[in-house]
């Protein structure tokens, strides 16, 4: 079936560097995407979302880019900090009434001090 997947299972960066986490999706009907951060032993935490009528959205230290042509999503984290270490998931929203999420397998971001 259709799914959302991530290119890099593990990403190791130095503190202060910028991080880029990538995600590919296959359902061209999806019009809403979300990035979540999950720390060990906790539930996923909402970071940022983007609708398909946008190609870029910025938050505090984070930016999400959406390329609908190649069905690609990325999360950029500026000045990565040790507290950013976590697993990051992109999710594709299917259906506005049900708001169901299809998650990828996740990318582990390890920030080296």
């Amino acid at each position: 079936g259709e799914s959302v997947g991530l290119h890099l299972p593990t990403l190791s960066v130095q503190e202060g560097d910028n991080s880029i986490i990538n995600c590919a999706y296959s359902n061209s009907a999806s019009d809403y995407f979300i990035w979540y951060k999950q720390e060990s032993g906790k539930g996923p935490q909402f970071i940022i979302d983007i609708r398909s009528n946008m190609d870029k959205r910025q938050g505090q230290r984070v930016t999400v880019l959406l390329n609908k042509t190649v069905k690609h999503l990325s999360l950029q984290i500026a000045a990565t900090q040790p507290g950013d270490s976590a697993v990051y998931f992109c999710a594709e929203v299917l259906g506005r009434a049900t708001n169901k999420l299809i998650f990828g397998t996740g990318t582990l971001l390890a920030v080296q001090p």
């Binding site: 809403y32 979300i34 979540y36 032993g41 906790k42 539930g43 996923p44 935490q45 909402f46 979302d49 998931f89 506005r96 009434a97 049900t98 708001n99 169901k100 999420l101 299809i102 998650f103 990828g104 397998t105 996740g106």
Partner: protein, 111 residues
């Protein structure tokens, strides 16, 4: 503000025993509710969702069931647990068209 509560945080159960995990949401009405399972080092798999009281949709065939007896209460159950039911169970809620918000999960170990 809205909050979501899941309990217990951890649970160890023998094979063949029953299960009941509870999730409640505060500060909102008529939310969509969801149950997910997450295997170690993996993504989240949607098990059930509900758009209203008594309305349950199952996503995958399994040994589990869900119920929504009240607007802001979602329960995950099993009559007889299997070893394969071990995992991290997460409850989430959302208003329509908005991001889901997750509880802190229940770590279920089957012995």
């Amino acid at each position: 503000s809205q909050t979501i509560h899941q309990w217990p945080a951890t649970l160890v159960q023998p094979v063949g025993s029953p299960l009941s995990l509870e999730c409640t949401v505060e500060g909102t009405s008529n939310p969509n509710l969801y149950w997910y399972r997450q295997a170690a080092g993996r993504g989240l798999q949607l098990l059930f969702y509900s758009v209203g009281i008594g309305q349950i949709s199952s996503e995958v065939p399994q040994n589990l069931s869900a119920s929504r007896p009240q607007d802001r209460q979602f329960i995950l159950s099993s009559k007889k647990l299997l070893l394969s039911d071990s995992g991290f169970y997460l409850c989430a809620w959302s208003p329509q068209g908005r991001p889901q918000h997750f509880g802190d999960g229940t770590r279920l170990s089957i012995l």
